[in-house]
Symmetry: C2
Subunit: 187 residues, 2 copies
């Protein structure tokens, strides 16, 4: 199974532990453009994307700010809300049709209690998320919009292909008009 493969890159999981894990994941399908989490919800799941692509955004005043994307074969969650059990102001939207596997908050905490590797996986997942967030935080301070676009272009070419320009623009912190001009300047 995909999730086990992914997790075992981080830490070996014995069959006995895996038996506890695997029964807790449920499969879920979402249509393109549907909202998986909307502002005001409490996040109840930690999810693993089997196929598809997601966009994370918040509403500020009258505009949307896209602050993250997530891709196939990675975990995601409105993690702050998931941890604190408080409502989120995040929206998570399917940019493509989505197939995912998810585990509920209560089930995950059962695993934390019942298996030795549970806490370790939780720690590694949180560390992983932290590393990504820290890198991006520094990138946003360090680079200009044009540089951020070029980095994106190099590191995630599939992203540039498939994601509407207006979302990418917001992600690097400029208006769609500005990104359109950056693009025409580059080629």
């Amino acid at each position: 199974m995909l999730i086990r493969e992914y997790l075992e890159k981080l830490v070996p999981i014995c069959d006995k532990d895996w038996a506890v894990f695997s029964t807790k994941f449920e499969k879920q399908v979402f249509k393109k453009n549907s909202l998986i989490i909307r502002s005001g919800d409490v996040e109840n799941y930690l999810s693993f994307i089997e196929t598809g692509m997601l966009r994370f955004w918040i509403e500020v005043g009258d505009k949307e700010i896209t602050f993250d994307f997530a891709f196939e074969k990675s975990f995601f969650s409105a993690y702050l809300s998931f941890l604190t059990r408080d409502t989120t102001n995040w929206n998570i939207q399917a940019i493509t049709p989505i197939v995912l596997w998810r585990i509920s908050y209560t089930d995950l905490h059962l695993i934390y209690e019942q298996t030795v590797v549970g806490e370790k996986i939780g720690r590694l997942a949180a560390e992983d998320l932290f590393i990504k967030a820290a890198k991006r935080k520094i990138d946003l301070l360090t680079y200009t919009a044009e540089e951020l676009y070029l980095i994106l272009f190099k590191e995630q070419p599939h992203l540039i292909q498939n994601i509407p320009l207006k979302y990418l623009a917001s992600y690097i912190g400029v208006t769609p008009q500005a990104l359109s001009r950056i693009r025409s300047r580059i080629y």
Copy 2:
């Protein structure tokens, strides 16, 4: 002891576990302006600030970018380097005289193995760091320099008092001149 108090806000620690923890922390003192970590080092410690204030910065081209501060009674580390055992490009500098307690990578991993709460604390620490990084990431995309300054002013007034303007300017992503003008505009 301060560290136990702080940790027990997150998770109860029994005396037996604490006995394992406490022997591993060593006290360390740094002078004002000294570098606790410099670019090129591998971070070997997770540290807890007893007194003082730190600045995190990286060098980009010919200029310094301040991307974080840390205060009394909180943990810090060049965490990415600490986790990956790879060299860091972060610099961590004492803005004031510093007293801290720190635990080495090997000792922390001994604790992960020897105590039940070890992994849990590691997870909670990583979650805590992630939450802060995620919030800041969104703030940087959402607000203008002036708004970021006002938020800082409201949430961390002691920071504004004690930290040289040029570091604050870099933290909100503008030049010292620009922040000086923002300030004079506000009052």
